[in-house]
Amino acid sequence: MLKLLWLVPAIPFVGALVLAVLGARMSHKHVTVVGVGTVAASAFISILIATVFLSAPPASGMYTQTLWTWIDVGSFRPQIAFYLDALSLVMMLVVTFVSFLIHLYSAEFMRTDEGYSRFFAYMNLFVACMVTLLLADNLLLLYLGWEGVGLCSYLLIGFWYQDPVNGLAGRKAFIVTRVGDTAMAIGLFLLFHSLGTLRIQDLLHAAQVQWSTGSAYAIAAAALLLGGAVGKSAQLPLQTWLPDAMAGPTPTSALIHAATMVTAGVYLIARTHVLFELAPPVQFAVAAIGAATLLMAGFSALTQNDIKRVLAYSTVSQIGYMFLALGVGAWGAAIFHFMTHAFFKALLFLAAGIIIEALHHEHDIFRMGGLRKELPVAFWTFLIAGCSLAGLPLITAGYYSKDLILWSAGSSAAGSTVLWAAGIAGVVLTSLYTFRLIFLVFFGPVRTPVTKQPGLAMTIPVCVLAVLSIVGGFDKVPFARFIATALPTLPEAAARISETLSSVVAALAFLCGLLGAWFVYQRNPGLASAIVENPAGRVLHRFWSSDWGMDWLYDRLFVRPVVWIARVNKADVIDSIYVGLASVATFCYRVLSLTETGKLRWYAAWIAGGTVAFVAIVMFL
C-alpha cells in the first residue's frame, strides 16, 4: 500500500497537464471532474497510506520510495525519491485533505470565471509541487517543489491578468520570494560542497558527525536555509508580498497563502532541524524573527479595511508563532500549530469568500455588516474559525496548539520569558483584530445587501473545516507522540513558567482582546473613528496599515535604484558592443558606397591610382 506513495504527487500533476493541454476544449463538467477529482484521489490515497502507516509502522518509522536517478554527474547523484515519516505524513495528509476541500469549494466559487480550466490546472500543479516538496527525499527535489509552488503562486496571484495591479502583485510575490530562494540555493551549494550529499537523512547524519555545534559552516548553511524559509513563509524582512497576494482569487488565498505554501518554510526548518540545532545563533534568530513578525503583523492586521488583508496579516502573524516554536526547539508544537492553523485559516478564507461572493465582490469590512442573519453558514463557520484563531479556551483546536507554543517559548532551554511575553501580547492582538473583524462584518446594521446564498459545494467544505477547527486539537497528546518519531521532543528544561500558569494567562489575554474589540466596535462604534482621527492615532494607523512602512522602505532602498540603473542602461552597455560592430559595418558601407559614382572616369582613375600604388609597393618593399 505504501508503494502508492508516488501517486500522491503524480495524479495532480497529470491532472494539471491534461487541463493545460486540453482544458480549453473540455466541457465545464469535465474540467471540474478532472480538477477536483485528481486532488480527491490524492487525498484518498494519502488517507489510505496514513492508515497503513499508523497501523503498521515500518521499521525505524520511515519509508523511502525511489523512482529513478535524476542526475548522474560524478559524485552528484540526486534521485527522484519520496521519503515518508511522521512529519511528512502529517503534512501530506493535511495538505491534500485541505486542498481537496478547497478545490471542491472553488468548483462553485470559480464557476462563472472564463479561466476556469486554467485555474484548476494551476491549482493542480500547485498541489503536485507542494506534495513533491513535502515528500522529497533530497534537497534538490525539495527545491524543485519549492520553485514549483513559487511559480504557481505567481500564476494564481496574477490570475486575473487583465488588471495590471494583479500582475504587479504576482511579480512582487515572485521577486520577494526569489530573494529567499537565492539564499536557499546558495545554502544548498554550501551543503553539497562541504557534506557531499543532498539526501536529507544522510546530510543530517554527516552534519552531526562533521560539524561541531556553532561551527561556521553550520551557521552559514542554517542561515541561508532560514533566508529561504523567511521568503516563502512571509516573515520579517520578506513579508511584504503576502498582503498584496490577496489580489488572487479567494480559493488561492485559502490554499496557498494560508494553509500550505507559506508553511513550506516551517517544513524546511523542521526537516533540517539538525542543522539548526548545530547553529544556536541561527535558531535564536528563528525565534526572534517569529516573535517580531507576530507582533508586527498583529498591529498591521488591526488597521486593515480589506477583509482578505486582515486575514493575510493574520497568516503572517500565525506563522510567526510557528517560527517561534521552531526557534525554541519545540519542533512538534510548530507542526501541531501548522495543522490547526491550516484548518481554521483555510476556513476563514473560504467563509470570507462566501461573504465576498454574496456581497458581489465587496471586500471592505466597513461596508459590510449585520450578516449574522443574512449568511448564517458563513457566520457560524467564521465565528468558529475566529475563536480557534484567537484561542478560545478548551473547545477550539487553535487554543491547544497556541498554548503549547506559548508554554514551550516560556519554559524551554532556548526560550525565555521575553519570548513568552511577546507570544501573550500576540494573543491579545490576535483576539482583538479577529473580533474586530467579526463585529464589523457580522453585527451592526446591514450596509450591503446579500445577493445570493452559497451552494452545496461551498457549504460542505466550510462545515467540514469548522468541525476540524474544533476537534483538531483534542488529539494533542497522540499527535505529539506520533511526531516524536520524526522530530526531537523538547527537553524538560527549567520550568520557568508552569503550564497551567501559561494557559491561564493566555485565556485572559484572549478575553482581553475580545472585550476590547466588543467595547470599541460594538458598544461605542464612534470610538474607533475617534481613535483614528486623533493625530497620534492617525500617524500610528497609517504606519501600521502600510505594514510598518516596509513597502516604502524597500521601494526607496531597492526598487528605485534598480529601475534607475535599468533606465540608464537602456542602450545596454554590453549589448552596445555588438550593436557597435553592426554600426561600424554600416558606417563603412556608407563610406564605401560613395566611391560608386557610376562615372566611368572615376573608375578609371581608381584603377590607375591603384596601379600606381601597387607598383610603388612592389618597387620599394
Binding site: S593, E596, T597, G598, K599, R601, A604, A605
Partner: protein
C-alpha cells in the same frame, strides 16, 4: 645596323602610355576616351616590340599583332556602343551614363 638603346624605346612607350592615361581620365567625350585607349594600347605594343628587338626574335612583333587584332575588335564594338549611346542619351558625355551610381 639598328642599335637603339632600349631605354629610349621604353621611355617613349611609357610617356605615350601616360599621355593616353591622362586622356582617358580627363576627357568626358566617349570618342576621346576610346582614342586615348588606342594610344595606350599602341604604347604597350611599342614596349613589346622594343623588347622583341632586344632579343632579336619575332616574338615581340607577334604579340604586337595580337594587340592589333584585339584593338580592332574592341574598337568596332566600342564604336557601336558609342552610336547606341548617342541614340539613347543624345549626348556622348560619360558622366551622364551614371545609373549604376551608389
Amino acid at each position: 645596323m639598328e642599335l637603339v638603346p632600349l631605354r629610349e624605346g621604353f621611355i617613349l612607350a611609357g610617356v605615350l602610355f601616360a599621355l593616353g592615361l591622362i586622356g582617358v581620365l580627363v576627357r568626358r567625350n566617349l570618342i576621346f576616351t576610346l582614342m586615348s585607349i588606342e594610344v595606350m594600347l599602341n604604347a604597350a605594343g611599342l614596349a613589346f616590340v622594343v623588347a622583341g628587338a632586344r632579343w632579336g626574335q619575332p616574338d615581340g612583333q607577334v604579340v604586337f599583332l595580337f594587340i592589333l587584332a584585339m584593338a580592332a575588335a574592341e574598337v568596332s564594338v566600342g564604336l557601336a556602343l558609342v552610336l547606341e549611346l548617342h541614340r539613347q542619351y543624345k549626348s556622348l558625355d560619360t558622366d551622364v551614363i551614371s545609373r549604376m551610381k551608389g
